[in-house]
């Protein structure tokens, strides 16, 4: 069998595809973070915990109401978004006049409380959430076995990322939003309710985390630590893409997922630090990130 860069092509293509799948989660989560940072200037450390909450809501819906995966796909982001709105209204909105750091500390605290609470109630081993029967099984692509569910995750996340990008960059609402972040007073003087818009933005940003949580539930077991395992990597992804850049978050999410997948073939032990190595290199070369603007 011929080999490509020292490994069989089958393994290489397989890892590239797996990287793309993981990249989908990175992209969805970093997209939410970038939207929130871009519009609110808040470094949302609670994002991982809200992702975990999304997965738990899906599990609750199944366990207690018998509502399956597709219901969860709609209801869970709505519920998590609602929690986000409450957080923004009652806590975050009081901190906008202060330094970024206060928002970061507050959301970090919220993350610890959420994770601690769930850990206390549900332990750490996690709850199992079945792959929806629509996507049971998989197909042999010749170079790897692709579970249908993972294929669905990639498709759905690409659609959601594109839609969010379109909504912010190409629609009228998106243009108001972008204008409001540049100069809120001016936009308000045109009769646009900026505080409501900001609240909604935070709600939508965390709803994206909730959606990622539902998508993750059948792959990883639903457990209180799932968010904190992922959040640091996702922050690195956002930093590499450029804080606040929607396009940067999505592209670097997929790209880093793939790079991480390749590392798992060539040097598995380094696979969980490769993202940070890239972050250091990128920050040295382009301090605002690959697609970020200097502020």
């Amino acid at each position: 069998m011929f080999e490509l860069i020292g490994i069989p092509p089958q393994a290489l293509f397989g890892q590239l595809l797996l990287g793309l799948i993981n990249g989908s989660f990175y992209a969805l989560l970093s997209l939410g973070l970038a939207v929130i940072f871009g519009m609110l200037n808040v470094i949302n450390f609670a994002h991982g915990a809200l992702y975990m909450l999304g997965a738990f809501v899906a599990w609750f819906l199944l366990q207690y109401l018998g509502l399956g995966y597709f219901w969860a796909l709609i209801l869970s982001p709505v519920i998590v978004g609602g929690v986000g709105i409450v957080i923004e209204k009652t806590m975050l909105s009081r901190l906008y006049k202060l330094d970024h750091l206060y928002g970061l500390l507050l959301t970090f605290g919220i993350a610890l409380i959420l994770e601690g609470g769930f850990k206390h109630e549900f332990g750490v081993s996690g709850q199992s959430y079945p792959v929806p029967s629509t996507f049971a099984g998989g197909t042999n692509l010749g170079f790897m076995f692709l579970p249908y569910y993972r294929g669905w995750v990639v498709l759905l996340s690409i659609v959601v990322c594109l839609a969010t990008w379109y909504a912010i960059e190409k629609t009228r609402l998106g243009s108001y939003l972008r204008a409001a972040t540049e100069n809120p007073r001016l936009v308000q003087s045109f009769g646009i309710n900026v505080p409501v818009m900001i609240t909604m933005t935070y709600g939508v940003g965390v709803a994206l985390a909730g959606l990622a949580g539902v998508m993750a539930a059948p792959i990883y077991s639903v457990n209180p630590l799932m968010g904190s395992n992922l959040i640091i990597v996702v922050f690195a992804v956002v930093v590499i893409g450029g804080m606040g850049s929607i396009f940067g978050a999505v592209v670097s999410g997929y790209m880093l997922g793939i790079l991480e997948g390749l590392t798992k073939v060539f040097f598995p032990e380094a696979s969980n630090i490769v993202v940070f190595v890239i972050m250091v290199v990128v920050l040295l070369a382009r301090p605002a990130g690959l697609f970020g603007r200097e502020r």
Binding site: A11, G14, V124, S128, F145, S221, L230, V265
Partner: protein, 401 residues
């Protein structure tokens, strides 16, 4: 002969007198349960271990030598430095006489070292590393339920005998994983089976699919998991997703606990081979004990939690018999007394502190075979302690030479 007997008699009576004179330090016996209450092993040990220690104290009657028994509890967060600090504080200022549970190999080794230095009994039923009863053994240290040596020696030969003669091992990249990989590889070599490859994954790792794909591509008949807790749960789930078992490879979890299997679920876990030192449904006695435990704690005990019960009870009996809580004297008494409790079968203690007892190989039931939430295992075989554990003489522990 007569001289020897006389000498032994003198020595024994001297010991007895000193023991009587010593009595109980602080007029009570203090049991410290040092465990993981917040991190990845909180379900394997954690609050359940505290419940097990409380149950042992209550079953013993709450008093030893007519004096009260006190329980201390703390969370070492899986960090060796935190565990060591708590152990020192308990021994120096709270009069701890015995430390139990000690889950996580790094914490276990650190605390065992302190216990040895200060002459306090340490009983590890949580950590896996075989080093606890090898060179790093102390006069007051005990390793209770299982270790990497027994995990490798119970599961591996059975799988090989069933035709699984080529292996690929997925290893968690830290001390425990390395130790388990080394022990399993040694057994494979002895049996003439082939180790096709290994891959070391970061610990902990949420996504193991890349490594599983490598195992799948290797074509090995057996894919073995030398990891634990959440990593094992994710490996099994994702292994099933990628069709490892459906594709004809056998998945073997070298270490999995009852709580892990419960979390994986029978749908995905069925057929998996697991080595355990305890299971609630072994016989009348284990069922009765586990029922009482479940009434108190809400779930049946894992092997680690059952080990905390067994070891605490045995310690208290030894204190009673020795008439003192002086560490070295009690430790000697523990090795001398037979272990009699609802948890262990055919148990003795080696000179290196290793408890040798029956180990069990189980297969995870299918959903159709299971009759209840916790009815997850069917027995495959029982391996006597002398076969399952390393011979104390070979362990390299100075006390066993």
């Amino acid at each position: 002969m007569f001289k020897k007997a006389l000498l032994a008699g003198v020595a024994l009576s001297a010991l007895a007198t000193s023991a009587m004179a010593a009595g109980l330090s602080g007029d009570k016996v203090v049991v410290g349960v040092l465990t993981d209450l917040s991190s990845i092993y909180a379900d394997v040990a954690g609050k359940g271990s505290i419940a097990a220690a409380e149950m042992a104290v209550a079953d013993y009657g709450g008093k030893v030598l007519g004096k009260p028994i006190e329980i201390l509890t703390a969370d070492h967060q899986n960090k060796a430095d935190i565990g060591a600090n708590i152990a020192r504080e308990w021994i120096d200022s709270k009069g701890a006489d015995v430390l139990v549970d000690l889950v996580t190999s790094s914490v276990g080794l650190a605390v065992q070292g302190i216990g040895g230095e200060k002459g306090v009994v340490t009983i590890n039923s949580g950590a896996a590393t075989v080093r606890l009863s090898q060179k790093e053994c102390t006069a007051t240290s005990f390793h209770w339920m299982y270790d990497t040596y027994s995990l490798a020696h119970v599961t591996t030969p059975t799988v090989v005998a069933e035709g699984g003669d080529s292996w690929f091992i997925l290893t968690a990249d830290y001390a425990f994983g390395h130790s388990l990989e080394a022990d399993a590889s040694a057994v494979l070599k002895d049996l003439g089976a082939k180790l096709v490859g290994t891959v070391r994954h970061p610990f902990p790792s949420a996504d193991l699919s890349s490594f599983l794909l490598q195992a799948q591509a290797s074509g090995a008949k057996v894919v073995a998991l030398a990891n634990a807790g959440q990593d094992t749960i994710n490996s099994v789930k994702q292994g099933s997703e990628f069709g490892i078992v459906a594709g004809g490879q056998k998945l073997v979890a070298l270490l999995a606990f009852l709580s892990d299997i419960h979390s994986i679920g029978l749908e995905l876990g069925q057929g998996l081979l697991v080595t355990e030192g305890f299971y609630w449904d072994l016989d009348e006695e284990t069922r009765a004990f586990s029922k009482r435990f479940q009434e108190k704690f809400g779930k049946p005990p894992t092997m680690v939690q059952a080990g905390v019960y067994s070891s605490t009870l045995h310690y208290l009996k030894a204190v009673e018999a020795a008439g003192t809580d002086e560490g070295k004297v009690v430790a000697a008494k523990m090795k001398e007394l037979p272990i009699k409790d609802p948890v262990l079968r055919n148990a003795t203690i080696g000179a290196n502190g290793r408890v040798l007892h029956d180990m069990y190989l189980f297969q995870v039931k299918t959903p159709a075979e299971s009759t209840g939430e916790w009815d997850v295992y069917k027995p495959v075989k029982t391996v006597p302690g002398a076969q399952a554990f390393q011979d104390p003489k070979q362990s390299g522990c100075a006390l066993a030479q």
